[in-house]
């Protein structure tokens, strides 16, 4: 048990360390672009989200919701030895599923949104399962397969939305509004965070993170998935159906990404599927979030909130004389360095391993603290 604590500790330390480096570099970029406003600007990035009352905080949670989920999707797959770079495609396909149900089925009443969300999960799961099947049975690298599925997903959704009249708002070149019943309820968050866009989706994201944590760490199913991820041969030896595990793992990853899409597009913020040939950035941000959260579900939860926090802070940076491109660069730099968390973790692990060997816990604990 003590041992586990130690691992979490290393993970958190490395993430924090990576974040600090990122912030430092971000500050340097700020100073290079406008030294007079660098410090107040930097201060705004760090605190901007907090200076706009509960609304600002709510916005952070709202922005965090999709990237937490895509982060979980990537992180979950990673824990099971797979690199799900296809979160973007699963995301948009999930969004499509939700929007489809949201627009087309109007008779579900109060459970409408639940069905729409389930549709997003189902669509995402199907999309995720394809690279899983290809990997399991034909040994096709899941990275290649899921990259391709990103494009197939994006174009398929664009094509379907555009081509199917009931879904398409041709005045605005995007999907129509979903029915009001399909929008995610606020679940009381509008009371806590008045005026912000946050909704029940954030709660669903938190629950998802907890469920994934439990599945990975407490269940026999998670045991199998991780075993296959760590050592496919040994899992086969142990009688685990490793093909099934790979497929299920990708399917679940896809489902979670799909959920991300569903929740975002049902958020009732006026988000529509726009007909643009562009992969959903949420999918790729999920990779940064997963890396920053060192692929631990709870870590990912906080990493997602953190990145959303910075993004929101960057938004307020527009109050200064930084051009929006510079702001993007700074946020990118911070996230970029934050993603080094895994490297830092490896470094710390190496460092403490030297001293540790057969030694006790105390060692690595105190070392990690330095």
């Amino acid at each position: 048990m003590k041992n586990k604590k130690q691992i979490d500790f290393t993970g958190a330390i490395s993430s924090i360390f990576a974040i600090l480096i990122g912030l430092l570099v971000g500050l340097i970029v700020l100073m290079l672009s406008n030294y007079r406003q660098a410090f107040p600007g930097f201060f705004t990035i760090l605190t901007g989200s907090l200076t706009h009352g509960m609304k600002g905080v709510g916005q952070v949670f709202y922005y965090a919701t999709p990237i937490i989920l895509t982060g979980l999707s990537v992180g979950f797959a990673f824990k099971t030895g797979l690199f799900n770079i296809g979160a973007s495609g699963q995301f948009i396909i999930g969004a499509f599923g939700a929007v489809y149900v949201g627009i087309m089925f109007k008779n579900f009443g109060s459970v409408h949104w639940i069905i729409a969300v389930l549709a997003s999960v189902l669509f995402g799961a199907i999309w995720g399962s394809v690279p899983g099947i290809l990997k399991a049975y034909f040994n096709v690298n899941e990275v290649i397969a899921s990259i391709m599925m990103n494009y197939i997903g994006m174009y398929a959704v664009n094509w379907t939305v555009k081509g199917y009249k009931p879904l398409f708002n041709n005045l605005r070149n995007e999907s129509k509004n979903v029915a009001a019943t399909a929008e995610i309820p606020k679940m009381g968050l509008d009371v806590i965070f008045p005026g912000s866009s946050v909704n029940g989706g954030f709660i669903i994201a938190i629950i998802t993170a907890i469920i994934i944590f439990i599945v990975l760490n407490k269940t026999a199913f998670g045991y199998e998935l991780k075993a296959v991820g760590y050592n496919r041969n040994a899992s086969k030896y142990a009688g685990i159906n490793e093909k099934k595990s790979i497929i299920l793992s990708m399917t679940i990853a896809g489902a979670v990404s799909g959920l991300a899409g569903g929740l975002l597009y049902l958020a009732g913020t006026g988000k529509h599927i726009e007909i643009v040939d562009k992969l959903a950035p949420e999918g790729f941000n999920g990779i940064s979030v997963a890396l920053l959260g060192v692929c631990h579900p709870i870590g990912i939860l906080f990493a997602g909130i953190f990145i959303a926090y910075l993004t929101a802070g960057g938004f307020y940076l527009q109050l200064f004389e930084f051009s929006t491109e510079i702001i993007d660069i700074i946020i990118a730099v911070i996230i970029y360095f934050s993603a080094f968390a895994l490297i830092v973790k490896t470094m710390i692990a190496k460092f403490s391993k030297r001293k540790e060997s057969k030694g006790s816990i105390k060692a690595s604990g105190s070392e990690g603290g330095i």
């Binding site: 269940t219 041969n233 030896y237 009688g239 057969k358 030694g359 105390k362």
Partner: protein
């Protein structure tokens, strides 16, 4: 005589444990110096200190008369120190030649110049009888071959202090003999060898002197010619060790495993040869049947076929009278078959899981450990603690230890414990004592015999003649995928067995029951 390396009063502490406690090791120029000790005795730590991976708290290292601060493997290499690791450090999708030159490639204008390297490698391999195909991929050659590559790597780098970390663990008897020869030749050419092992035979055969470590402490250094195996093992273990396996005659019971006309096709591309060819045999309750043979004669494929890890091309397998030819691995696992795999890292363990999880690798789903899909952590922990205690599995943090950080011997013990605790009807043990020390070997051999006496059928695959002769009730010799002999150990000599294994003698094409 001049010492080429002196490690004086080395003390290396890890929190909670003193891995090296005031250890002195002096290697003379041109000698073969054995370093003997059980798993966890501190041999690896000492070598890591020599290679600069750890900095000792106390003590100093003198190389060729000069005190040196070694900060890393590169420093060590610069001083002419080279090492063949127990687990090879080879790039699997590189060729032999590429692996040998890796890191010190000769280039011209940034372009690799492999021809000179190839010449040197071929020259070296001829000179030391280390024949390998320079263009073969590592992933395609046997473990024995891989070790040759490791040795060639050192020679290629012109190292004059060579460290062999348990080099014979993976070799056939013939290969071992060859290696001994090579080692002797190396010393006549002025190279000095530090030979880490726990095989007393080999020490007797080749070493000049021997230093013994036990639980981090330095026990002493002896001239090998002035001592015997019994004494060495006592120094190492700290008590009297029984070097021969005691077992009573026992009449085998009913048939547990029946293999009929089993063939396995080679999986390598472009090969249509059968690697296991029309093999039939039976294993009964209460007997240890040993499959002897030189590495690479189809033993691995045979075992994989029996366990279901790989498919077969023809034939049938019956377990307890039931045809399991088409059954899943899990079915076989849960119907009386246990398997101590040949490659414990590849198949036997999930190295990144902790010990407890590894100990339930085939049982986590059973009622005992599983409730409504959730793992009963308490039950797993209890079970793990039971096995750890019963089988004396040593590790840094008990059941929470990541298996990766455990010593090879303890990893193997964990597997053996896991497989035996399942109370199997049939135990497939593939080189179960590979890389283990005398104490552990004695222990595992005793366990195997105990299982046999309890009525378990044991199919033992071994490359070590001594083990084969000691343990088995019956010997099947495999050569080029066929079983070429069915022998009774009481009526065959080691030499004879060696000839069967080498294919120069056979008992007719098929064996009789």
């Amino acid at each position: 005589m001049e010492y080429i390396i002196e490690m004086l009063n080395i003390t290396k502490e890890f929190p909670g444990i003193i891995a090296n406690d005031d250890i002195t090791l002096q290697l003379k120029k041109g000698e073969i110096h054995a370093l003997l000790g059980e798993n966890g005795a501190g041999k690896s730590t000492l070598m890591s200190v020599l290679f600069g991976l750890y900095q000792p708290e106390k003590g100093k290292i003198i190389v060729k008369g000069k005190e040196e601060k070694i900060k890393g493997p590169l420093d060590a290499n610069a001083l002419g120190i080279g090492m063949v690791h127990q687990h090879f450090k080879l790039v699997h999708n590189f060729t032999v030649l590429q692996n040998i030159v890796l890191g010190i490639e000769t280039t011209k204008n940034g372009i690799l110049k492999m021809e000179d390297a190839r010449k040197k490698v071929v020259e070296l391999s001829e000179r030391y009888n280390l024949f390998v195909d320079p263009d073969a991929y590592i992933s395609d050659i046997t473990v024995g071959m891989q070790q040759r590559v490791e040795i060639l790597k050192m020679l290629y780098r012109d190292n004059d202090i060579l460290i062999f970390d348990e080099p014979t663990a993976v070799l056939t008897p013939q290969e071992i003999e060859e290696l001994m020869q090579i080692m002797r030749e190396l010393t006549t050419e002025g190279k000095s060898i530090l030979f880490i092992t726990h095989k007393l035979n080999e020490i007797k055969a080749v070493a000049d002197r021997c230093s013994v470590l036990r639980r981090g402490k330095y026990i002493g250094t002896v001239h090998v010619s002035e001592t015997d195996k019994q004494m060495l093992s006592e120094m190492m273990v700290g008590r009297k060790v029984n070097l021969t396996v005691e077992k009573e005659e026992k009449a085998p019971g009913e048939i547990v495993l029946e293999v009929n006309d089993l063939s396995v096709m080679s999986k390598r591309e472009g090969h249509t040869k059968n690697v296991v060819e029309h093999v039939s045999f039976k294993v009964r309750k209460g007997e240890i049947v040993c499959i002897a043979g030189i590495d690479g004669n189809g033993q691995t494929e045979l075992v994989h076929a029996l366990t279901g890890l790989d498919g077969i091309s023809s034939g049938s397998i019956h377990l307890n009278g039931e045809d399991v030819t088409k059954k899943s691995i899990r079915y076989r696992n849960t119907h009386g078959m246990s398997h101590i795999p040949e490659d414990r890292h590849k198949h036997g363990l999930v190295l990144d899981y902790n010990l407890a999880y590894n100990l339930v690798l085939q049982q986590y789903f059973e009622k005992q450990f599983n409730q409504a899909g959730f793992i009963k952590q308490d039950a797993v922990n209890q079970y793990a603690d039971l096995l750890i205690e019963k089988y004396d599995i040593r590790s840094g943090q008990g059941r929470e230890t990541k298996v990766r950080s455990m010593s090879g011997g303890n990893q193997q013990k964990a597997i053996v414990a896991r497989e035996i605790m399942k109370n199997p009807d049939l135990l497939l043990a593939v080189q179960p004592v590979r890389g283990l020390d005398v104490g552990a070997i004695e222990y595992i051999h005793k366990e195997l015999v105990k299982q046999r006496d309890a009525g378990c059928a044991i199919l033992l695959v071994s490359l070590e003649l001594e083990e084969v002769m000691n343990l088995s009730d019956r010997i099947l010799v495999m050569f080029e995928g066929k079983i070429v002999a069915d022998l009774d150990p009481k009526h065959v000599t080691i030499n004879e067995l060696g000839l069967y294994m080498a294919g120069s003698k056979r008992e007719g094409d098929s064996h009789e029951e």
